[in-house]
Structures are given as C-alpha cells and as structure tokens.
C-alpha cells in the first residue's frame, strides 16, 4: 500500500472487494463470485515456465480475449501506482506480481474479469453484489465456452481440466459467497457442532483475519472440492449453504431484541464499539473488523449513523490480503488506523464528524473539560 494520503482511485466494480458495498435487497450476502481456471495444452504452467514461455502464452491469450470482447488493462501496467490499485481491486495476484511483464488483466463489462498468467494460464472470474451465484456462473461459463472454441485447453477425458494445482483439477471451478453474520456470532445461533452440517463440506474462512474460524461476522464460503461434481452442482451447494446461513442470521437478528439479556448486551456492545471508534489509537485487524461489524450492524437496523457503503469501503481497503504486500505488522497497524480515520474525514459528513472526531470543548464546558483532563471525566465520556 502506498504511503500517499491521497485517496485511491477505484476502478469500476470488478473485484471481489469492490463488490462488497451493501445490496439494499440483501442485508446478509455481500457478494457472489464464480471462478474457472484454465491452462493451455503444450505449455508449462506459469510457475514453471520461462519468461519467454509466459510471454508466448500471454500473446496468444491477448489475441483470443480481445476477440471475445475483453478490454486489456496492460497499458496501465506501466504505471507503478496503478499496480497498487490493481492489488486492491483484485485485478492482480501474488503470482502476477512475480512476472508482471508477462501478465495481463482483461475486463468484460461490469461483472467479468480475465487474468492471464496467474497460477494458471487463464482465469475467468465473475463477481456480483448480493446472492447472484447463478449469474456469476453463467457469465464465466459463456466466456469459457467462447475461449475454448479458440484455444487448446489442457484437458483429459479422465481427469477433466488439468490445472497447475492438482487441488483444482477436474472442473477448475470455484463458487464463493461472502456473508455478513454478526447476529449468528453474537447470539451463537449456530452451535459449533452444527457448522459442519450447515456448510455441507464447503470451506469457510473468516474474511477479517484470513483464518479458518467459522463463527465470525465476515465469512467467506466456497467449494474446495473441484472434481467429481459438475459446476452447477457445486454452485447449488454453495448457494444452499449461503441461503441457510442467511436465514439463520435474519432469525437471530429478529430474536435478539425480544430477549432481554441479549438486547441489553447488544446495547452495551454497540455503545462500546461507538466509543472505541472515537478514541482508539492502535487497532489490529481482528479488532477493526469487530468494530466495523458492530457499526455496520447498527446501521442496518437503523441505529447507526455511519453509511454501510463507507464501512464497506474501509473493509475493502483494509483486508488482510492487501496488507500482506510489503508492510511489516507494526507499519500496517499504524497505517490501518490512519486510513480508517482518513477515510472518514475524506467523506466530510457532519454526522461522522460528530461520531468520530471529538469537537473542541465549548467555553461553557471549559471547566468540565479541564476536570476531564485531570482524570475526572464524566461517566460515559470514554471507554
């Protein structure tokens, strides 16, 4: 992440992260994403290939992807600052960073991206807001079919698509859904032993700290298994799990206010989150995600003042994946908080100012402020 205080210029919605802003019709599912990975017969996989081999593949795919309507972003590649944006926007991968000159990204309208020379030669990815896995799958299917008319894919009748990683061979397909499940976590609406049944053999990852912990407010679920089932079947399994979790989440959100003890606890946590956001100096990723979760939840139920889109913007910018590049942990923490506060100030929203920036004490309150500095702050003024 660059050290510049200038806000990043975001590209049209293409990436997973960019699709995070709330869908008003779906208070639980952020976004849906489908990906297929393909490789070309007769060429070593990018990780084992020489630069000349990768360039040969890039040129071949450049021609084909242009033919089927892709718009290349290669010209922007020359700009180092743009590379930062590409990282944030999910338009590059760590592999592409290693051989940047032989990599390329293509855009197809609003929802589809093609990445050339990532771990595999070709990757099609479609991202949608809300639960729209079918549309995402359809988009990658059409692009894949068109490309496969012009390319010789590495394919075996027995094994299916031969991807660089054996873990993805077969369909080379991945369906993912990112969910916002704060009430499930808060009310423990899914017992630890019930998660396996709900997830139906799918993999779940805590979006906040990229861990396998499942009982978390920001959860991503996807199919690890890519062989032995059709793409449609895999998509159905992910969608079914997402729907079940969404139902449980909404039921928990409705149940909490009716339960006195839980409602009181909720109020307490919500007040603490607001206060922490006001005075925090250092925050780690986990704490920040918890905070964002509370603020987001409050807004969704009409209690908060912070627009959900803004909270999602922070989440998008601040995902752990972004911080992996270059920064040490301490630098990352300092930058994280700086960016959090910077983002709020950028928006210049009065309500946010009231929430996140303490105003200087007025004259008639000067005595009270002096008392606060002496350590006699009125109750509730600080956590």
């Amino acid at each position: 992440m660059s050290g510049s205080r200038e806000p990043l210029v975001f590209l049209p919605a293409q990436s997973w992260e960019r699709a995070l802003p709330n869908d008003p019709d779906d208070p639980v599912v952020f976004s849906s994403r489908a990906t297929v990975r393909r490789d070309l017969a007769g060429h070593a996989y990018p990780g084992s290939a020489t630069a000349a081999d990768r360039e040969e593949v890039r040129l071949l795919l450049h021609k084909v992807l242009r033919e089927i309507g892709g718009r290349s972003l290669r010209r922007r590649w020359k700009n180092g600052e743009w590379r930062e944006i590409a990282r944030v926007e999910g338009l590059s991968t760590p592999e592409m960073e290693r051989w940047w000159d032989e990599a390329e990204t293509f855009l197809f309208g609003r929802h589809l991206t093609a990445l050339v020379n990532t771990e595999d030669h070709l990757l099609f990815r479609s991202t949608w807001r809300g639960l729209h896995l079918r549309e995402a799958v359809q988009a990658v299917r059409e692009a894949d079919a068109e490309a496969s008319e012009r390319l010789d894919y590495a394919f075996s009748p027995e094994f299916g698509h031969l991807t660089a990683s054996p873990d993805r061979m077969g369909t080379g397909f991945c369906a993912e859904v990112c969910l916002f499940l704060p009430a499930i976590k808060f009310a423990r609406a899914v017992e630890p032993e019930a998660w396996d049944r709900v997830l139906r053999g799918l993999t779940a990852c805590n979006l906040a700290v990229d861990s396998g912990e499942r009982d978390m407010p920001y959860l991503r679920i996807w199919n690890r298994q890519t062989a032995g089932k059709s793409e449609e079947r895999l998509e159905e399994e992910v969608e079914a799990a997402a729907k079940e979790l969404a139902e449980k989440e909404m039921a928990a959100r409705e149940a909490i206010p009716k339960h006195d003890a839980l409602a009181l606890l909720w109020e307490d946590r919500w007040a603490r989150a607001k206060a922490t956001a006001t005075v925090a100096v250092v925050m780690d990723a986990q704490e920040e995600m918890e905070l964002l979760s509370w603020l987001r939840w409050g807004t969704l139920i009409g209690r908060g003042l912070v627009p959900v889109e803004l909270l999602d913007l922070i989440l998008m910018r601040d995902q752990p994946g972004i911080w992996r590049f270059g920064d040490s942990r301490s630098q990352a923490r300092a930058k994280r908080l700086e960016m959090l506060m910077e983002t709020f100030s950028e928006q210049n929203l009065g309500e946010l100012e009231r929430l996140f920036r303490r105003k200087p004490p007025r004259k008639k309150c000067a005595k009270r402020a002096a008392a606060a500095e002496d350590g006699k702050a009125p109750e509730g003024d600080a956590p």
């Binding site: 297929v36 070593a44 299916g160 298994q225 793409e231």
Partner: protein
Amino acid sequence: MVEWSAMKCEKCHEREASVHLTQVLDGEACSIHLCMECARAAGLDPSGPMEMNQLLAGTAHLYQELQKEIPQELREAAEAMLRSMGRPDGGEEESAEGEAEGPRCPHCGTTLAKSRKSRRMGCPLCYAAFAGQVREYLDPVTEGKAFGGWAPRRLPEGLRRDMERMRLEEELRAALGREEYERAAGLRDRIAALQADGGD
C-alpha cells in the same frame, strides 16, 4: 478431498508411503510406494546402506507378496522395474536421491516429490507421468465417475471419443447394477463401435 501430498502405502493401505522405488523403462516411470514398516518387512531398509543384490532380493520378495493383491497395472510396473534393475548394464537406474523423488515428468522434469511439496504440477503432461498417483488422489472423490463438467468446445476427436466412451462405460456399469441387461448390451455395442472407430 485427500491432500495431494498424502499417499498411502500400496502394501498396507494404511500408513503414509515414505519409500518410493522408481525405475524408468522405455520412457515410462514405474513405481512402488511403501511405508517404512512394509519396506523393512520386505527386506528393504532405506535408512542403511544396501547392496544391489540385497535390494533386488528384497524387491523380488516384496513383488511376490504384492502380486497376490495388487492390481494388474501395478504388477506390470513392478515387473518392469525388476526387469530393468536386473539389466547387466544397469539400464536407466536412478540414484538413491532420484528414487526418493519418485517419478519424473519426461516433458518438464518435475518430480512427484517436488509436485507434492509445492502442490503444483510443472506442465499438463505431469498428469500423465503421475497418472497412478493422480487416480489414487481422485478416486475417493470421483468414485469412478466420468468427468461431468464443462468440456472444451474445441477438443481433438480422439479425446472427444474417449470422453464419450467413458460416459458410456459409466452408464453400462449403472445398467448392469440395475440388471438392465438389454440396455447394457446396447451400451456395450456402442462402446465397441467407438473403440473400433478409434482403432483400439
């Protein structure tokens, strides 16, 4: 799905294989993968120095034992390996280091050990070079079912025919399971016709 890096012993089918005997014969890699216990039981002690005749004796003993229970494909591989090891000129014997790395892709040179460690193949032909291991890895997931995903539109005729044949074979197995013999006979004829078309 089982991890690509985990491989069961071909003798006991329980412990993880840590001894890999490999020989290349006529360009094809033939391998036996054993756990340390089964290797020792067969007279192979990979941890200590080993004379070639001791290795041969141990492998021969192992081969005889395995012959009773291993599939035809593996038997042939073991046979080929023994033949090659018995060659007066040493054939294409690999070093002890090479043996530990398992089979090697003749196209890109990636070894099975490297592939397992990195969880990456070097090139699409690695799948052919490590076909036995790939099947072992895939079988619990696919349960012998033919590939039923999105196939490329542009596909060489031979591959297309193979896909169709595998699909029909799966249907045939299902028909036999349901005792639908008339349908099975029809499927068998179609498979035979496809094989004849392909010159099999």
